[in-house]
Symmetry: C2
Subunit: 293 residues, 2 copies
């Protein structure tokens, strides 16, 4: 970052750092007067849905808050590919998964906590890319063509942020070493480039790709839950959920890592459905999903 | 776009197009049960702030709904640049503005409705770029560094969408010809590239650049209001506001283009304040602005 000739390094409040704009209320005034819920609250014990959804002082876009029933009922499903593009997307995901399993040592030996966390951290750094790239692509297209977006952008942004929250959660449990950091940075460079190009050529391929990716994610997280219940991850049955997860998914104060994984899995199943759907629409069809769905 | 071997071209509803996920409610169920306001509603005559903010069937992020008092009190202000980076940003904006005024013929001859609309449409295709580029840059950085964003992303996304709504509004009044479309596409290519590179090098420069740009925007829209009140744009005093504008800014059913321009100007003053503030923070400082501010 470029160093700037600023002697005053304290964090400035809006009132002191910019000329006052007459007529615009200061932030405190606005916050108190608004009802601005950011999450879709389905929990019966939370009748007040007007709270801002803060995650450690920051704010998040609307996203589903899963009920216990919904969490337990997530199933592994498969949407059979139809046509060349969908088959290509499916084949790509299968190849990537098998290579990743092999090279990460996941398919051989015991599935330890260390292996699980490494896998989750790495994959969730990648998972946050498609939604944001797709959103920006559609945003720029809407600007230069001066045409409507038909409601896709917000859903894609919600997905991107949700995946980023997955990462912010799992990273509470793992310190990434220098090699892993380099691998993550390299992967981002490659994946952002490839996915951007693909999205310009065929959004349909991309959404189906993500749909099939999420099918694998649901399998993986289901396997994780099995390990928690009867494998090497038994400690996660009682390991406390990180604060950021409790805030984000509105978990109970005594929630565990098992609860967290259940919620992450439900999110992945949700993205699976949304992306399979978007992958079967035309790009100027209206997105059927409202915010927070 | 790539043609796909899909015989069934009808828009699919989520229920029919993807395998049902047991436990996840269908979209209709979710929508009915949620309270999900998307706008900050400050209007006293709208006590119910739980309505989804729909814009012609789509959805928007939280954004300020201006009161009449706020609208009339927007002033032209200037934040004096301090240090090399800020002076560079200011000089860039001044140069760009003067060149644009000259080459668009805005500084010479009468300011006609045609000239105003051409200017608005062109500039608003560009205005939606910085917020989205900045948001994506911070999002990708948060992913690869596995670090917190401190609440900047949502504010930047809100700005990007707000500018896009400016465009969607003014485009109701103007058909862009082929030359203009080419100019817009070319500008986007150049600006997205340059701004992305600049944001990686110096976010501070970029936010100050946008801050100074918005200072100019407030001047321009103030001049437009003057033309409406006593110049060549008198017709806009009674010209009905486009439906998308009435929905987005919660305007009265009989709102006029003058009301629209007042609201756009207030948005620009808001971005002016936010960007000047962000341009004076360190990139890992917490963003003081909550959603919809
Ligand atoms: Fe994820
Ligand atoms: Fe995912
Ligand atoms: Fe604008
Ligand atoms: Fe602007």
């Amino acid at each position: 970052a470029v160093k700037h000739f600023r002697s005053d390094k304290t964090t400035k409040t809006p009132e002191s750092s910019a000329p006052s704009i007459q007529g615009l209320q200061d932030p405190q005034g606005i916050v108190q007067e608004t009802q601005d819920p950011q999450t879709t609250q389905n929990r019966q014990d939370s009748p007040n849905s007007s709270e801002l959804d803060t995650v450690g002082g920051a704010y998040t876009l609307p996203h589903p808050i899963w009920s216990t029933d919904e969490l337990e009922k997530v199933e592994i499903t498969h949407n059979p590919p139809k046509g060349i593009v969908e088959h290509l997307a499916y084949w790509n995901v299968q190849t990537l998964r098998r290579s990743f399993d092999f090279f990460s040592g996941f398919s051989s030996g015991k599935r330890t906590e260390k292996k699980w966390l490494t896998r989750f951290v790495f994959l969730e750094t990648v998972a946050g890319v498609p939604g944001m790239v797709a959103a920006m692509t559609r945003h720029l297209k809407s600007l230069r063509r001066m045409s409507r977006d038909h409601g896709w952008i917000h859903t894609l942004l919600e997905e991107a942020e949700n995946e980023r929250m997955h990462l912010m959660t799992v990273i509470q449990l793992k310190d990434a070493g220098i090699l892993m950091r380099l691998a993550i940075m390299g992967s981002q460079g490659v994946f952002v480039t490839l996915f951007s190009l693909c999205y310009l050529v065929s959004p349909r391929f991309c959404h189906k790709f993500v749909g099939y990716l999420e099918e694998e994610a649901v399998k993986t997280y289901t396997g994780c839950i099995m390990d928690i219940d009867s494998g090497n991850l038994v400690s996660w049955k009682t390991k406390p959920a990180p604060e950021i997860a409790i805030n984000y998914w509105n978990l109970a104060r005594n929630a565990t890592m098992r609860d967290v994984i259940l919620n992450i899995r439900a999110d992945e199943a949700h993205h699976r459905l949304v992306n399979h759907t978007l992958g079967e629409l035309d790009t100027d069809d209206t997105n059927p999903y409202p915010p927070g769905y």
